[in-house]
């Protein structure tokens, strides 16, 4: 039977009235991350869809304080904020970054790498909608291979950057992937990350309705297919080495592509290439998980 989730009973941290698109999975994901994090949290949100969702001055859609840094500086800003809170004795207050893939993997990567190396104490959530969606869906390094974007109209010619592997290579205490379409898994991971100290990096897959070409009500279906096809496996890496896989690969990647207009143009050989990439990535993940035992 369907599991009853605690969401209906929670005090909301994200409020209604925000400007997210109808059906926005970014907003839905943040809603649940915030619900687990609770009110003793300060959020850092760089320019992104989330920054707009955070509301126009003087209104905020979050009931916790939010600081908006420049686009390339989220992890640095969060570091400064964290240290300041520590000097005030607010050790229980969580610092939560909610940054897009652009602000994380591209322009923001340098300071993220530095914060990871210093093992700064923050929960860094990358809201990965696989492109610079707020500025009109241009490609980011997190855009997958062959996807059409505002700056790659014939399809991106390079692969998606693997943020979780990069963070694991820094040896951070916790790096994991999740999506709100697997809500219990997401909430478990946020709760787990919340209970830890040090640099914790969660990458959430956020299907973007406008950017990917999805119906208003299809965001969760796209995320489920991403997971089920292995295009976005759910897994955790602890201390850079212990890999645990949390999802199964049960569908061909073509099923996932078929839902999205950004793949409308792909040729059969590209689909085959994508399937091979997904298979190889999955195999590698399974090997890492076996070696971790």
């Amino acid at each position: 039977m369907v599991e009853l989730l605690p969401a209906a009973n929670e005090e909301p941290v994200l409020c209604s009235g925000h400007a997210a698109c109808p059906g926005c999975i970014d907003a839905l994901s943040v809603r649940h991350v915030l619900a687990v994090m609770g009110p003793d949290t300060v959020a850092v949100v760089p320019p992104s869809c989330m920054a707009i969702i955070a509301g126009p001055q003087p209104y905020s859609s979050l009931t916790i304080p939010v600081y908006q840094p420049t686009l390339e500086a989220s992890a640095a800003a969060a570091s400064g904020l964290r240290r300041a809170l520590d000097t005030q004795g607010k050790h229980a207050t969580q610092v939560l970054v909610l940054a897009g893939d652009g602000g994380t993997c591209d322009i923001g990567f340098q300071c993220l790498s530095s914060a990871a190396e210093r093992n700064e104490d923050m929960l860094y959530v990358c809201l990965d909608n696989e492109g610079y969606m707020n500025t009109g869906a241009q490609k980011s390094s997190s855009t997958p291979h062959y996807a059409r974007t505002g700056s790659t109209p014939a399809g991106k010619t390079t692969r998606k950057k693997n943020l979780t592997a990069l963070m694991a290579a820094h040896g951070v205490p916790y790096a994991a992937t999740a999506t709100v379409a697997h809500l219990a898994d997401l909430r478990r991971k946020v709760a787990k990350a919340k209970s830890m100290r040090g640099m914790r990096v969660l990458t959430l897959l956020i299907p973007c309705l406008d950017g990917w070409g999805l119906r208003d009500d299809a965001g969760l279906a796209a995320a489920r297919l991403a997971v089920d096809s292995g295009a976005f496996p759910l897994y955790e890496v602890e201390d850079g080495t212990r890999v645990t896989v949390n999802s199964a690969k049960t569908r061909p990647v073509a099923d996932y592509l078929a839902l999205q207009r950004r793949y409308r143009h792909v040729a059969p050989e590209q689909v085959a290439a994508l399937q091979a990439e997904v298979d190889e990535g999955w195999e590698r993940l399974q090997r890492q998980a076996r070696e971790a035992v």
């Binding site: 340098q110 300071c111 790498s113």
Partner: protein, 389 residues
Amino acid sequence: MNPAATGGTTAVLLTGNHAVAWAARLARPKVVPVYPITPQTPVLERLTEFQAAGEFDAEIITVESEHSVMSACIPASLAGVRVFTATASQGLLLMHEVLHYAAGARAPIVMANVNRTVASPWAFWPDQTDSLAQRDTGWVQYYVESPQEALDTVLQAFRVAEQLLLPVLVNLDAFYVSHSLEPVEVPPQELVDGYLPRFEPPHRLDPAHPESWGNVVSQDMFNRHRQAIEQAFAKVPALAAEADREWAERTGRAWGVVERYRCDGARTVVLTMGSMAGTARDAVDLLRDTGQAVGLVKLRLFRPLPVAALRAALEGVDDVVVLDRNHSPGTGGVLHQELRAALYGLPGAPRVHGRLAGVGGVNVPVPAIVRWVSDATGSEPRPESMWVR
């Protein structure tokens, strides 16, 4: 010897950098994000030594770039915590975007900047173009002449910054000030604690009282915000003067906002900032000894430009020789051009002679200043700055 431990003021032989480090220690900031760059590194190293010895209780964050330094400073300050950092040249430039951000955030950060030539090409010489190129960012700017003045000004900067919620930049010339050694009076901790009130901003990032900073604004809000910044800047000269007076009462040292040296009855005045003021002092003495009516106006507060004080200081002067150790292509010397603008429309305003004297860190000896003063006095000034050696 540890001046702070003795409970009284002690004179210590300090470089400008170390004097800055001492001031930072005494101000008790809680968060110090910092990145090394020649010739600022002794500031950061001294602070880490203080911290390792248990004498400096602050979070020193060694981030990976100066852009990240300032990015870390702002939210720390907005959380309601005193913040300090230091940089130079390229580092300051790399922060440029975030300097604007800090001022817009009304974050009272105090930063020491060692004025060093700006690439390209690469060089490490004294030149003030780095900080002058930030003159539109909304930071209050001081220029100091000596290690003692550096220490005193960093502490005054915290007071002004926190009263007005504006960030303050304290500039010291590379090597001439940053690395030169002189006896510096280091005040005791209690004196500084009495001089700098607790930092309690009315708004802060605090989950107990949630309010957010940075949400997108309307045109009207942006316009009003800029007006508010301007209104705060309008108060700086008076508050800087007051901070200096209060400091003088406690320590006996006053630096003023605009210093007039032997200007009474002067027909020609040399006007400059930073280490050249020291050389110019000697040149004025020489000229006075030969019976020339020459004085020095040393500009300590550059931003906001204390127009009223400058006009007052230059009243009755025939010629002003502005010595610039900086270069803005197409404009010439920044101080020269700003002074011309400040004096525009003043009845009986002096002739203003702009001299690009120290660009790139070239040496400016006393005889050269004497010669420039003689050549300029009574001559017709050109609107553009002139290159002199």
